[in-house]
């Protein structure tokens, strides 16, 4: 492996100096400057300009209004940290936080394990390889509304397929939308159905970069397939794993579409907010109650929550295959 890395560099390194040594022709220095110094910035600028407009500006704007008692239909009054203290005291907010974290855990842990196993299976030689591999992305392409319609039918209390099947085993019908844990489970399956394939593809891409000779060497040493998976694939996948986990953390903590459509587009998330996530809470406060300042403050707390969640997950993942 170290051979690969070193091989390329010596041949590439001497090239640029020879170019720079060429005499700068007068009058063209501006173009040269443009070419060498400015061009990279120009090339990356579209992203940063868009980020400034659609990322940073709303962020700052939201922070600004989180200090106001801002009713979208009327008053704007300075309250300082009033919104934040009120939020920390608001049982509904904490309920949303618990819901979000619980659904994140229920959905994400099995999702990443499943994606890993799926990627490992897809990494083997098979017929119609490309189709099978792209096939796992299909759920992602489906409109979330269509997904919600199907899952709402599956999890119907009176006429749902899941309760019907449970009935074969003598179980009482479960009111999936009224009870907290069942509603979390139902939504977690929706999330997993859509996103497992997506993560699997990313894992697969990561697996393809693992040199085959490692496996060959392990096979010669008599390591089983399973052992190879846990001792070679998983540790070598760590960078990919960090990306997938951080991505899932952000996605999971900002969960909105699935639980909202599960309750017919109502952001209250069940009669007593059984499955209202923080994003839904923000939306409800901002655009249903028109309490924009309060919603802004909640958005910033969510931002903090994501930072903390990402940091914890990052630290956890770094320990994977912790032989270094």
């Amino acid at each position: 492996m170290s051979l690969h890395v070193d091989a390329g560099q010596p041949t590439r390194a001497p090239m640029p100096p020879s170019r720079r040594r060429a005499k700068p022709r007068p009058g063209r220095s501006f173009l040269t400057w443009l070419d060498l110094k400015a061009a990279p910035y120009l090339l990356v600028s579209p992203y940063y300009i868009l980020f400034l407009i659609f990322g940073l500006f709303p962020l700052a704007f939201t922070l600004y209004y989180s200090f106001f008692d801002y009713d979208l239909t009327g008053t704007v009054e300075w309250t300082g940290l009033g919104n934040f203290t009120a939020l920390l005291d608001d049982a509904a907010f904490w309920r949303a936080v618990v819901n979000t974290l619980a659904m994140f855990l229920i959905a994400t842990v099995p999702q990443i394990l499943l994606a890993l196993l799926l990627a490992n299976a897809l990494n083997k030689r098979m017929k119609f390889q490309l189709f099978v591999r792209l096939g796992v992305l299909l759920p992602l392409v489906t409109s979330v509304v269509a997904v919600a319609v199907v899952f709402t039918q599956l999890y119907g209390r009176d006429w749902g397929v899941v309760n019907w099947v449970l009935g074969w085993f003598g179980a009482d019908p479960i009111d999936w939308k009224a009870e907290r844990l069942p509603s979390w489970l139902a939504i977690a399956t929706m999330v997993d159905w859509r996103w497992t394939g997506y993560n699997a593809i990313i894992f697969l891409a990561g697996m393809q970069t693992i040199p085959k000779d490692l496996y060959e060497a392990a096979s010669i040493d008599g390591a089983s397939r399973r052992r190879q998976f846990w001792q070679i694939t998983v540790p070598m996948l760590r960078p990919t794993m960090i990306f997938v986990v951080l991505n899932s953390t952000i996605g999971g903590l900002t969960l909105f579409a699935e639980p909202t459509t599960f309750y017919n587009g109502n952001v209250h998330g069940g009669t007593t907010s059984q499955f209202q996530t923080v994003s839904m809470f923000i939306f409800e406060q901002g655009f249903r109650e028109f309490d924009y300042g309060y919603a802004s403050a909640a958005a910033w707390l969510l931002f903090l929550l994501i930072l903390i969640g990402s940091a914890i997950n990052f630290l956890l993942i770094r320990r994977i295959g912790g032989n270094k």
Partner: protein, 449 residues
Amino acid sequence: MISNSRRGRLLAVAAVAALALGATACQSDDKGTDTASGGGATQAAGPVTITLQTFGGGKNFGYKEAVDKWNAEHKDIQIKYDNLTDQFEQVYWPQMIQWLQSGAGAGDVVGIDEGGMGLAKAHPEWWADLGEFGLQNRKNDFAAWKWENGVTADGKLFGLGTDVGGMSLCYRRDLFEKAGLPGDREEVSKLWPTWDDFVAVGKKFQDKVKDTKFVDGTNTLYNVVLVQEAAKNGNVSYFDKDNNLIVDKNPAVKTAYDFAQKISQEGLTAKLRNFTPEWNTGMKKSQFATLGCPSWMLGAVSGDGGAGPDFKGKWDVAAVPGGGGNWGGSWLAVPKQSKHPKEAAQVLDYLTGKEAEVSVFNFAGNMPSNIQAQQDPAVQGAKNEYFNDAPVGEIFAKSASALQPVFLGVKHAQVKNAIESVVSAIDDGSVPYANGWKKLVDDAVKAAG
């Protein structure tokens, strides 16, 4: 290794594509924001398109036939009819307020439920002045309260009434007979002069019929009782006339809540919340036998979303226990942002006129608020074929003229929404009966705050 790197590249492309998809997947669609009003070029030869936005399930505002007729007769002004959603408090009104605030997106003529009128009146800057287009002379077409509600805080006419919510009770004739109860509407009406009688009939029904519940859920009848009781308590429900929240002080709210809790405790409800997909399915699967029916509910039941054509003749309409009540009724208004306020006012004038309101009544069952339309023989003598030829004109028109307006505060829609969640929550078991009333008051205070 070599063949692998090619595959790797393909996969990388796939992964990037997937990322892009993931990033765009959560974009919300903004259906209906395009007003299609021709970019403001009024002098152009092409016809002016007036966008009409409403809400409601089933046949909703019932404008289909009236709009088709107008479009056939007016080549210069075409109406584009857009019923945005069946949910007023949850979806339509918040979206509409954002459009009105931001100055773009709202249609040229928009429907407003009574629950939104308090807020609408408090914001004259949102609305075009209908008086400018001569609609001031329509005053005698409406009952005084219906007219007054369309006038803003500073005295500007901005909205005209569409329908009024006269009250009845819809019931499944076939299921009543199955339970050994009379099926005829006169006799059914005699079964329940009071709500206590209604509960007694419900228990009898439930003894005989197991797989169908007596009522849909707590929410519909809660609202029926609330408007009846409001009329007995100074015509106020959640707010007093100075816009103070009085949920815990107004006996009307407590009475309505207690009734909702009672029918739930007695096991008479199918535990469905109105205007949800489950409720619609419930109608198609005969999950409940009675339903509180303001006139506009007839359209929700007979429409494709509701029970639909399979149940034609099985539903019927009886008198509501406890006398009349005024649930709902809507208004039409022209947002100031409309690029064609004059044409929009013309359309609004037509849609609230006698001819259109009679057409709406015949199509969807919504009781006209236009007095001339109410008195029209076509309305007075109307029978509803779907509801076993019930004389709906007689049933609703009788009460329509005597209706009392219920005062609704500026934040009525938000408070109503919060309260309805609790009223449904005691039914689905997520809030114990013992805590229900306290939670209702707490949540209402929070929503109003």
